[in-house]
Symmetry: C2
Subunit: 150 residues, 2 copies
Amino acid sequence: MLMSSVDETMTTSNDSDGLNLDDRLRDAGLRPTRQRLSLAHLLFSKGNRHVSAEALHEEAVVAGIPVSLATVYNTLHQFNEAGLLRAVAVESSKTYFDTNTSDHHHFFIENENRIVDVPASHITVADLPEAPEGMEIARVDVIVRLRQKD
Amino acid sequence: MLMSSVDETMTTSNDSDGLNLDDRLRDAGLRPTRQRLSLAHLLFSKGNRHVSAEALHEEAVVAGIPVSLATVYNTLHQFNEAGLLRAVAVESSKTYFDTNTSDHHHFFIENENRIVDVPASHITVADLPEAPEGMEIARVDVIVRLRQKD
DNA sequence: ATTTGTGCAAATCGTTTGCATCTGA
DNA sequence: TCAGATGCAAACGATTTGCACAAAT
């Protein structure tokens, strides 16, 4: 009854909520393909992360997962649309994707180009102005820019 | 003693503070060249603006000011360094430059890709977390993302 | 059998750079 | 004069796209 194979690429339990990756993708209307499952695994099995497409691709390559950069981009955007991820805009150039989709804000370490979550408990935005006629507030992003002291 | 010429491109009074554009550039350590003066004029003589390099270049061209896109980029960055302008990051792709350098935050109208100032009187960010060891807060940016209602 | 995803390379977009030529002090 | 600016075109980095091939339902 030997039932192990090398590329069993997780079809069983996993991470956060009760769903396994396979189902999370299905629920998002995305076919659970090899590369999507692998990328999802890289993204969601290590706590909150803030990755760029380039970085994730590199990680995949190192992990021996055959996937093209174009597919990484596609996948990240699909995950973003599906709400599995959240794109964070800090500075024009690279886009970062945050695996933490809950309500929270960010530190941006200027010289390192690195994003870190600010504990949700912190930061209170008060006194928000009302949105102009016919518009509504989609989201409020706070970015605390940090620089090396001295 | 005829002393008027067509391209007298402002050397006299101007805008905001007491300084004319010529002096504002000089004070910033920038030579008041034709194109820098012209661009400064476009930028600072119409109240607060949020422009992209491309847009400003187009404006200049329309106004009959001979200037290359590269120079517009250079100029915007120099103005930014000099504190005459403030670069605003809303979404990775285009960079916007805000002529309002005072402490304030922004609305970002998602479908129009447009930035609008939030009156400084509004928005209070409280409960800010302390910066990690050896770091200090350079700035806190709040972006209120607006979308069309319904 | 269909539909959807993937890889590759070429295309695009915003932005930067190298370098010869001009211009302001 | 001559450091500093400008224009152009080529170079660039991040991202997207077109299309033939492969995999999922």
